[in-house]
């Protein structure tokens, strides 16, 4: 098929139409709204069959999603920022009840001050909830990951919510050429929805979400961490199938021009596109630099990162979220993965609340000597 000019939000709406979930409980919030607006239009036109539930909040959206996913209905939803914050309690419960809900997350800064633009603080808020978090670089990836997500979520070794994270506005609202798959190819790729214990299976009734005292709570948490560990090979398998279908390749960790790279930048989301462009420019100038794109933040590809960065002299981590009083999340994760490897590690916070990171900023970061918080006005504190 020839590419269409679509925003990331529209592309995700198309992916949802093609996956054709049974139930979509959702509450609008900027910058996610175009996703659900586009999908609601498909439902209204009869091009998608889902039961669209106009819930009264994001807390209710995920609550309804758990109910429908465990009743035996493929369920998708979408949110951003404050919506995810309100939903957070139920996100933990969805993961613990092993409800394979697929959710698009239009990444947006958390209040306050109130802001509608991109950073990753919303994703990081639920870092430890037990959900899979895949990050898109552009609209095409947001579409592709949304097609792949149900297969990861519903795999019997995983059975967890999967979030497809796309940078607010930068991806959700920017139009790019996006290549859509044929409807029937997506239908065939995702297949039928199956879970081990369906609430509506009257022949085999089951109680879901039991109370667990100190004698069992820990075992269930351990089981969840095992499910996230199992998601890494499942992502690789699903991506391999998807590559056969689409010709496009996805990895939990995507290396970019790492051959003989001395300085390597690690990043998430749309920024990785900027970083790749700068890597190309610097390579043209003869500088040995490379990039590592984290395609899956949860589960985190720690072993692959350690192997990929083995020969680098310096690894520079770009966090689009801060952790006041501690190490920013991607930096902490990378440092843990590289512990003892001997490479020099630097971390920067950038782009909070939608502040742009320009190619010249990335060049300066590659050159070194930048403060921890890049792109903020004011004299840097001594490091």
């Amino acid at each position: 098929m020839s590419p269409e000019l679509l925003t990331g939000g529209e592309a995700v709406a198309h992916a949802m139409r093609q996956v054709d979930p049974d139930v979509v409980p959702v509450y609008p919030i900027t910058p996610q709204t175009p996703i659900i607006q586009g999908f609601a239009k498909f439902v209204a036109e009869g091009r998608a069959q889902a039961e669209l539930v106009n819930v009264e909040s994001e807390h209710s959206a995920m609550s309804a999603a758990i109910g429908s996913a465990l009743a035996g209905a493929r369920t998708m939803t979408a949110t951003s920022s404050q919506g995810l914050a309100l939903m957070a309690e139920v996100v933990y419960i969805a993961a613990s009840m092993r409800a394979p809900v697929v959710m698009a997350l239009g990444n947006r800064a958390l209040s306050g001050p109130i802001n509608i633009h991109c950073d990753h603080s919303d994703s990081m808020l639920i870092r430890d909830s037990g959900v899979v978090q895949l990050f898109a670089e552009n609209a095409q990836e947001a579409y592709d990951l949304t097609v792949m997500a149900p297969r990861v979520a519903e795999n019997p070794d995983v059975l967890l919510p999967v979030l497809v994270c796309l940078d607010g506005f930068t991806i959700t609202h920017s139009a790019e050429p996006v290549e859509l798959l044929a409807d029937e190819d997506v239908g065939g790729f995702v297949g039928a929805y199956r879970i081990p214990h369906s609430v509506l299976d009257v022949a085999r009734p089951a109680t879901q979400g039991p109370f667990a005292m100190p004698d069992y709570y820990y075992e269930f948490r351990r089981q969840q961490s095992a499910a996230l560990e199992a998601a890494l090979p499942v992502i690789a398998d699903v991506a391999a199938d998807f590559e056969r279908l689409s010709g496009r390749r996805y990895r939990a960790l995507e290396p970019y021009r790492l051959d003989d790279a001395v300085r390597v930048v690690v990043a998430l989301g749309s920024t990785t596109g900027t970083v790749k462009d700068v890597v190309d420019e610097l390579r043209d100038e003869g500088r040995p630099v490379g990039a590592l794109k984290i395609g899956s933040f949860r589960p985190f590809p720690a072993a692959a990162l350690r192997e990929a960065a083995a020969d680098a002299e310096a690894v520079i981590v770009l966090d689009r979220a801060d952790s006041p009083g501690g190490a920013p999340p991607l930096f902490a994760e990378t440092a843990a993965a590289l512990y003892g490897s001997g490479c020099d590690l630097q971390g920067h916070v950038y782009g909070l609340g939608g502040r742009d990171l320009h190619p010249e900023d990335v060049r300066a970061i590659f050159a070194g000597g930048q403060p921890v918080h890049v792109g903020v006005r004011g004299e840097p504190c001594p490091v």
Binding site: M97, A99, L159, R204, A206, T207, Q208, G209, D215, F220
Partner: protein, 92 residues
């Protein structure tokens, strides 16, 4: 005490399949009073069966057949619901 399951043995998410689950005898929580019935007063209206928040009222077909003390918590709802005063709470 029964051996506790390991995390590998537990069903994903803790789903409890009714037919396969062990049935802990939660009647052990009962607080000192248990329902007792005077069958001469019972009119078999089954309000006790309907109101019981557990499944501690036993039926034989559609006939009242007594209490299952393995699950009765002694909440007294059946005694309150009984329109003929056939159910009385008695000390254990």
């Amino acid at each position: 005490m029964a051996r506790l399951s390991t995390w590998q043995e537990l069903p994903a998410g803790g789903a409890v399949v009714a037919a396969e689950a062990e049935q802990p005898h939660t009647g052990g929580w009962r607080t000192g009073l248990r329902p007792d019935v005077d069958l001469s007063k019972c009119i078999n209206c089954l309000l006790c069966w309907l109101y019981c928040p557990d499944s501690a009222v036993e039926l034989d077909g559609t006939a009242f057949a007594g209490f299952d003390y393995d699950f009765c918590k002694g909440c007294e709802i059946c005694a309150e619901a009984c329109p003929t005063g056939a159910i009385e709470m008695v000390a254990e």
